[in-house]
Symmetry: C2
Subunit: 203 residues, 2 copies
Amino acid sequence: MKNIPEKSKYHHGDLRTTLLTVAGEMLKEGGIEELSLRKLAARVGVSRTAPYHHFKDKNALLCGIAESGFRQLHQMNKRSFNAEGPSTKEKFSSFIHEYVNFAKANPDLYELMFGRTIWKQENSTSELRDAAYPCFQYQVAMTREWQQLKLLNHSGEESALRASQVLWGTVHGIAKLLIDGIYTDVAHVEEICDYAVDMFLVH
Amino acid sequence: MKNIPEKSKYHHGDLRTTLLTVAGEMLKEGGIEELSLRKLAARVGVSRTAPYHHFKDKNALLCGIAESGFRQLHQMNKRSFNAEGPSTKEKFSSFIHEYVNFAKANPDLYELMFGRTIWKQENSTSELRDAAYPCFQYQVAMTREWQQLKLLNHSGEESALRASQVLWGTVHGIAKLLIDGIYTDVAHVEEICDYAVDMFLVH
DNA sequence: GACTAAATATGACGGTGTCAAGATTGATTA
DNA sequence: TAATCAATCTTGACACCGTCATATTTAGTC
């Protein structure tokens, strides 16, 4: 007689996380433009304004979803980079492939994470920034190591930050072009990634 | 007594191009989310549904704006690539810089041109595709030349398409990260671009 | 058991895209 | 010139949307 969430209770109990979960599902199903607060509330079985007691805004809810996305991405990078078996070169290749495949697997989430909606002006929540920045910084750290091991093609003074911005730009750009289906076919993801790896490695 | 568009005429005369122009202005001023058909119509001085006789959709209007964007971009690339003075290396560098600076100068237009809104599903107009594809193909052609001149760092079999997708991904990614203000500062555009050029050139 | 604060609900407002139906006009044709 | 017609524009209406102000219900606390 413990878990009986069947009867319609006035207080939902854990509306915040439920909203985040269901919103994530809706995002996956129908994209960002199918995600409205009203539909979300209806699906959860709650009034339209109930979410406003857990999220200041629609924007805040979106930030919440993106937040978990960044944590996923961060963890993925960490796991990959700290793997025992593969060589550094292989890890570099893994980073490129995994990043792009993450975007390919969760196109709408990725779009949300890096879209204008969330980041423009001062729209981003401080919690979002707290989740995203460590993720960014980890990419710089990885790049620094690749640089120190003389893996990356480059002449002149090295900068981990700049190299990271370029590398990140590349995977980000490939991901977005893929997602939006602009002159790049999803069928060739691996080929494109391999080619990118080859262009960055020193020969 | 020729140009007297002062008196309120029932027929506007050239509403289609006026809509495109003014919509472009509004896009530049307040971004995509400030651009509503109703506001646009009001600003042009016409009823809310008048635009529907010139554009099937709001989407069709957006495609129209993006269209001119692609023509601009295409022309910019052509002019730069066919310049007489600079060396091939310098032209390669110019391409990177100019592309990113185009995006930086017209952030909302760029966002629209490559955003999901326009390209997802079958949203894109055939006219838009007719303007965009030649632009894409020109990038492949440029890349092919750079490859043949052994400018780009790479081992293994060469593919102009793949290299172009990676290069384009890079500039696209840098542009988007800059526009969205994600871990990259607009003040460092040139530095980042220079670094990208250096990473791609063979040494 | 009374009180308070949190959680939820209802009603309302202004905004959006877009459809249907009517009004106006410029061009064509007889 | 007069009549017709299609293009163009307007008005009205609808279904959404996010969000605020206000009222209601409930859980937890003293």
